[in-house]
Amino acid sequence: MSELLLKRLEADEPSAQKEIMQSFQNRLYFYFCMRIKGDAPKEDLVQEVLACFFDSIRQKKIHSDQVIAPYIFGIAKRVLYNFYYQSSKSNNMQQKLQQIHSGVQDFEEDRNQETQNLMEGLAPILRKLAPIDQKILQRFYFNQESIGEIAAALNRQRHYISVRKDRALKRIRNEMKKHQLL
């Protein structure tokens, strides 16, 4: 996030608002996916958090750039609590958010596109890895096996498997940054 973001948000700069949404929409959606099971409207909850945040900016409740991320996280926790224990429905959040920030786009469409780009970009990068690295990643992430189980199956030391996994992940991340997928 750029410096003096808070000042730009308080001045209602659209670029600052867009920066916040780009930074936090995915994180919020990820958080609600991990915490809420079933077919709950997670996109609505994401929009609710952002609407509350922009409200707080208007009311000058935030005093520093450094607290923006923890503040948004705090709102997310409260929204989650309300969702579970008070069962409050977030109706027409997209509309409400558009009233606060006119430039807001369809989050769901953007998220689906981004996820698709990420998945499509991942396959060619995986092909570049050594076969043993591919096997390790497949067993660990897709098959959800433990490091010990993989080491036993591939007849290697646990440390060897662990180091190879970490190096493969580092390589994937570097390649994705190079191709601007992250």
């Binding site: 809420i36 099971k37 990643l137 959800q144």
Partner: protein, 239 residues
């Protein structure tokens, strides 16, 4: 240094293995750390990638295969089905179906540990029920759970009841218990309730409904995805 500590927790977080406090601290961290959030996204994508990275080679006319394998398998299946139909008869078919259902609905009962209940009065019965469960006395579990007050309707008690009913072959009762967990979308037992409800449906021969549940679970962000996938493979292999 701080980021290094959180980076070590990413895999445990994705598998739902972090304790609540550590989970919350980690979530707060990735809200502000792009590096950790990128790693989280990459690893989640790996969980959803089927790793089918090699191109599939289909045999052509000149490949030298006199009979493609698919045709042999299909012919073999049709012939076997005809023989089975003629030879087995109605009761034979029924017996076979029961065997298949038993095979695809096999499962290992989960480990259940003693934890506290909301009201101290019910704690005694709950502890007795869990001890009975640990000794594989499932009728004893249900007897003790019957003494717990209706207000103590927590997901963990419903889950214990559901599993015990499954073990005594009361599939309908088990489905009812799991449905109550699913209705309230309890975070702790939601995935497990879906999975074991699927097992109960298999036991009743409601294979299509069970399959839908496992497909749903496989598409979710859940530690039980692998087991759901294995069940789908088992159902497919036993058709």
């Amino acid at each position: 240094m701080r980021c290094y500590r959180f980076e070590k927790q990413i895999d445990a977080y994705l598998r739902g293995e972090l304790p609540e406090k550590q989970q919350e601290a980690f979530e707060c961290h990735y809200f502000s750390c792009k590096k950790c959030f990128d790693q989280l996204r990459i690893r989640r994508s790996l969980m959803q990638t089927n790793f089918d990275l090699t191109a599939v080679h289909l045999p052509g006319k000149d490949s030298g295969d006199a009979f493609p394998l698919r045709t042999i398998r299909k012919s073999g299946l049709v012939a076997a089905s005809l023989i089975l139909l003629v030879g087995a008869g109605f009761f034979g078919l029924r017996w076979h179906r029961n065997l298949v259902i038993e095979r695809i609905s096999v499962f290992d009962p989960p480990t259940i540990m003693i934890t506290e209940t909301r009201s101290p009065g019910d704690n005694v019965y709950y502890i007795r029920a869990v001890k009975a469960y640990q000794k594989e006395n499932y009728d004893g579990v249900l007897q003790n759970l019957a003494d717990i007050s209706a207000e103590e309707n927590s997901p963990k008690i419903l889950f214990l009841e559901g599993i015990s009913r499954l073990m005594v072959h009361d599939s309908s009762g088990a489905i009812e218990a799991f449905n109550r967990i699913i209705e309230v979308m309890a975070p702790s037992y939601f995935d497990e309730a879906l999975y074991y409800k699927g097992i109960a449906l298999l036991r009743q021969g409601r294979i299509r409904e069970a399959r839908e549940l496992f497909v749903r679970l496989e598409g979710m962000f859940s530690p039980l995805r692998t087991q759901a996938r294995q069940k789908l493979d088992t159902i497919k292999n036993n058709r």
